[in-house]
Structure formats: C-alpha cells, structure tokens
C-alpha cells in the first residue's frame, strides 16, 4: 500500500469513527487539510506573482488625480487590487506623499493594501466561504476610507 492509499484509507477510518488513536487521527486530519490547501496556496502565489509583474510600482503615482473626494476611493481601489508585501505600500505611499497626493488617499491606499484582497478572494472564498469572503472584503473596503478620514482628522488635533 503506498502512502497516498494509506492516507486515504486512514481518512476513511477517521470519517467512519474507527478506533484510531488521537495523534494519528490529528496527523491524518492535518495531512488532509494540507492536501486540500496546497493547490489553493500555489494558485494564489501564481496570481500574486502575475499581478506584481503586470502592475509595476511606477503605475501607482499616475492613478491619482488630485481630487480630494475621488483620490481616497482611487487609493482604496488600487490598494485592494495590489498585492505583495505591505512594505511596498509604505514605499509607494512615501513617494506619493512627496508628489503631493492627499494624506487621506495615501492612508486609504495603505490600509486597503492589507485589509482587502481581491487577488486572494478566490482562496478566501474556497476556504472560508464565498459569502464571508465577499462581505468581509466589501466591509473592509468601506472601513479603509473611513479609517483614513478619521486618521487624518485626529492628526489635525495633534
């Protein structure tokens, strides 16, 4: 019996409630979780790599119009689509600040970069449920603009 066969048989045993000791049960459950998750992780990595390559960092400063109402929404939208390390969002945010883009727009961009994940949405839907993933991302998008406005508002008093 090969490893996969043993694993599958073990899982059937677990599902049927046969007498397996808890560590073995836990290990088989974890292996099954790995088996289910690994293709999703690889898929997300492929998607993130594609987005990083297709949307270069130099694109972001060009998307802001200077409009104080539209820019925070633009910031949140592009922060939601963008992928990669949050450090990149700080660096881009710093560059945008030097170019005169409003602080609210930059803050919305930084927040949505990490709280909203359009690229990760398929993986989030598969693992945590479609309804949860869509609701969470929409709510996070809206709160990214609210938190950005509040941050700049509070900073005005300091």
């Amino acid at each position: 019996m090969d490893l996969v066969e043993a694993w599958d048989q073990g899982w059937v045993e677990v599902e049927n409630g046969n007498n397996m000791n808890p560590p073995r049960q836990a290990a088989i459950k974890t292996l099954n979780s790995f088996k289910q998750t690994f293709p999703i992780i690889v898929g997300v990595l492929l998607l993130v790599a594609l987005v990083i390559t297709v949307i270069p960092k130099g694109v972001y400063p060009k998307i802001f119009t200077g409009n104080k109402v539209v820019d925070p929404l633009v910031g949140s939208t592009f922060g939601s689509i963008a992928a990669g390390s949050p450090l990149t969002s700080y660096i881009i945010g710093g560059e945008l600040l030097n170019k005169g883009v409003s602080m609210i727009a930059i803050t919305a961009f930084i927040i949505s970069w990490v709280t909203v994940g359009i690229v990760q949405l398929p993986a989030e839907s598969l693992m945590l449920g479609k309804k949860f993933a869509i609701t969470r991302n929409i709510v996070s998008f809206i709160t990214s603009v609210i938190v950005a406005i509040l941050t700049v508002f509070v900073l005005g008093f300091l």
Binding site: I41, L46, A49, V54, L126
Partner: protein
C-alpha cells in the same frame, strides 16, 4: 459543465488549473513577462516556505488539543471579551501572508469559531509590528500610533458588521 469539472477535480484543483492556463497564455503572448512572473512566483514561494510548517504545525496542534467545545468556549458565540482579545492579538502577532492563515481559520471555523472573530483576526493582520519602524520612517510617530489605534478599534467594528451582514443574508 464547470460544475461537473468542479465536482470531479475539486474547486482547489480547478483554481490551480485556471492559473496554469493563464500562465500558458501569458507565455505564448509575451515570454519576457512569463519569465519575470515565474521568477516572482519562485521568490514568493521561497518566502512562504518557512511559514508553511508553522501553519500546519498549528493546525496539527489544534487537531490534537482543540475540540469544538473548547473553540466554542474561547472563540464561539459566548466567548465575549476573551474572543475579541484572542482574535485581535492573534492577528497582530501572526506572521506571513494573509492566505497562509486561511487553512487554520477554516479549521477553527469548522470547530465553531465565530465569523466576527475571523474577520477581526484578518483585519488585525494589517498591523505589522516588524514593519512599524518603516512606517514611522515614512509617515512619522503620530501617524503610526493613530492609525494603529484606529485599526484595532475598527477591527472589532468590522467583525461585528461582517457577522451581522452574514446573518441578514442567511
């Protein structure tokens, strides 16, 4: 047709297949972009590799020691302050990309973790303690402190709204 394929190979393999087809198309259209994307993928994979054992180690521990009863007590409907505390600080202290935490959260959800706590955990992943010096360097101390405090407060708001909306949509 798609439903049939999904039932046969599973949504996770279908998603991976779509991505592979997308790469194939990119490779045929522009080989330079394809090469750069593969390099970016390898770089990302290399970065998450050390986190993988941590995540699956935590899943193993949760399978060993956390039964649904215990999860319900700490992260379920009646968890109260304890649940908020665990999800806020768990989110802040967790490392690596957000999608690495989906398997563990999915496992905990199956065992009874509330949607509001999952949403709060994921929102707090935005607070990156190791990256704070960089944020301070670019935007200053006051900005970093105010933003962090507001993010923690709004993570709870976020969790409550998500929970409510999911219940309403049910």
């Amino acid at each position: 047709m798609i439903r049939k394929i999904l039932n046969k190979i599973g949504a996770q393999w279908f998603f991976l297949t779509i991505m592979c087809v997308a790469y194939l198309i990119v490779g045929l259209v522009n080989f330079t972009i394809f090469e750069n994307t593969i390099l970016a993928f390898v770089g990302l994979f290399w970065k998450i590799l050390p986190i993988l054992p941590l995540i699956f180690g935590l899943i193993l521990l949760s399978n060993l020691f956390l039964d649904p009863k215990r999860i319900t007590k700490y992260l379920g409907r009646k968890a109260g302050f304890k649940g908020w505390f665990i999800s806020i600080f768990g989110g802040i202290l967790s490392t690596g990309p957000i999608y690495m935490w989906y398997p563990l959260l999915s496992d905990l959800k199956e065992k009874g973790m509330k949607n509001s706590f999952i949403a709060t955990f994921l929102y707090n992943r935005a607070i990156k303690l190791p990256l704070m010096p960089m944020m301070i360097f670019y935007f200053g101390w006051p900005f970093t402190l105010v933003l962090t405090a507001l993010m923690i407060i709004f993570s709870v708001t976020n969790g409550l709204i998500v929970e409510k909306l999911i219940k309403v949509r049910k």
